[in-house]
């Protein structure tokens, strides 16, 4: 049965976003530190950077990175993750991921501004929806062809889906850094663990992978 999944990188103090972006450094240094273990994996290098050299880590972090892309039939993301907020006046903007985005499935971008769909290389399509989390999930599930639906981000979008009780599988990679500011993933989620199997596994990189897996039917 199709499941709804979330994967996020967060800091030890629970921040899923960074705050040190500048025009010259649009992701900031903190983003690199937050995602370092994931970006070092062979899966990330192949899938996102199109690096076919086979380089990259292959241990615990790569196992979770590979899982990130498995069995996903459709993706939902917020306007910020697509980059609409950073590029509000560019009708040609196609997202952060280049001409061959790593998704290879239908991607539904939540936005209040209608835009034409984009057909990218590799099977990725971007469609723009004005919808509640429940409506977006219905649309994405229908498009997923029996595969899972991933809510990709950003943090605020993920929190909307978590608070609505729509997420079956949550994976967070916790980087051992204290960011001190940003959007907190865990706010207003007291008792999230109830009804879920929770696992924790630390990688040699210092990143700890925590998963919440909800039983089918609960």
């Amino acid at each position: 049965m199709s499941r709804v999944r979330v994967d996020l990188n967060i800091s030890l103090d629970g921040f899923a976003t960074t705050t040190d972006q500048t025009p010259e450094n649009p992701f900031g240094d903190d983003w690199g530190r937050l995602t370092a273990a994931y970006a070092a994996t062979r899966t990330f290098r192949q899938r996102v950077l199109h690096d076919e050299s086979g380089e990259g880590t292959t241990g615990v972090d790569d196992r979770y990175a590979a899982r990130y892309f498995e069995d996903v039939g459709a993706e939902i993301m917020g306007a910020g993750m697509f980059g609409l907020h950073a590029n509000p006046n560019d009708p040609e903007w196609c997202g952060w991921w280049g001409e061959d985005p790593p998704f290879h499935v239908p991607v539904f971008v939540l936005t209040h501004e209608p835009r034409h769909p984009l057909e990218m290389a590799g099977g990725t399509t971007f469609q723009f929806l004005t919808a509640t989390p429940e409506e977006a999930l219905d649309t994405a599930t229908a498009a997923a062809g029996g595969g899972d639906v991933r809510v990709g981000g950003g943090a605020s979008t993920v929190r909307d889906f978590l608070r609505a009780g729509l997420v079956d599988d949550l994976h967070v990679g916790i980087a051992p850094i204290i960011l001190g500011r940003g959007v907190r993933l865990w706010d207003d989620l007291r008792g999230l663990e109830a009804g879920s199997q929770v696992t924790a596994e630390s990688a040699p990189s210092g990143t700890t992978h925590v998963t919440f897996r909800r039983s089918v039917g609960s």
Copy 2:
């Protein structure tokens, strides 16, 4: 050389205190969930509960629990951890730990109200200090006889010492639960990891042990 150490149990969302205490249940259910892995260890059962049956877990969690008591020459704690706030009008109050507290070293309780020292069984003495973190540390270091000084808690006291840059070794046991409210350990500590070696190790209990170890001289 004597080091300053902290050990705390926190939730996945970073709370080091719980909020569901009632007069009938003075620690609350959440405290039990937050400290379950630690309280299940053989070390905790022996040292805190005086259980000599040898029962209790002996794996990863117990290794950190045993380390908790090793090489400590003196302890500092806040008035709340000693229980003064819960028992303000009881001049006979001797703390939460019974007649043979688990510390077995001089314990300095930070309070604005002078009290007479208490000599307990097993080498534990409680002395009451009105002092800044730096002053308390000087006093405790002198009493530790070359041993380490542990800042035992509670969360607010620990944060005072962390923010003052006085802690050499921090260990947190992160329970895989979302409490959603309480005192956050990590607030105002952006960049705490700088200059420290950081490790992360997950136990089969689901608790993840993270340590920050500052280099000597830094």
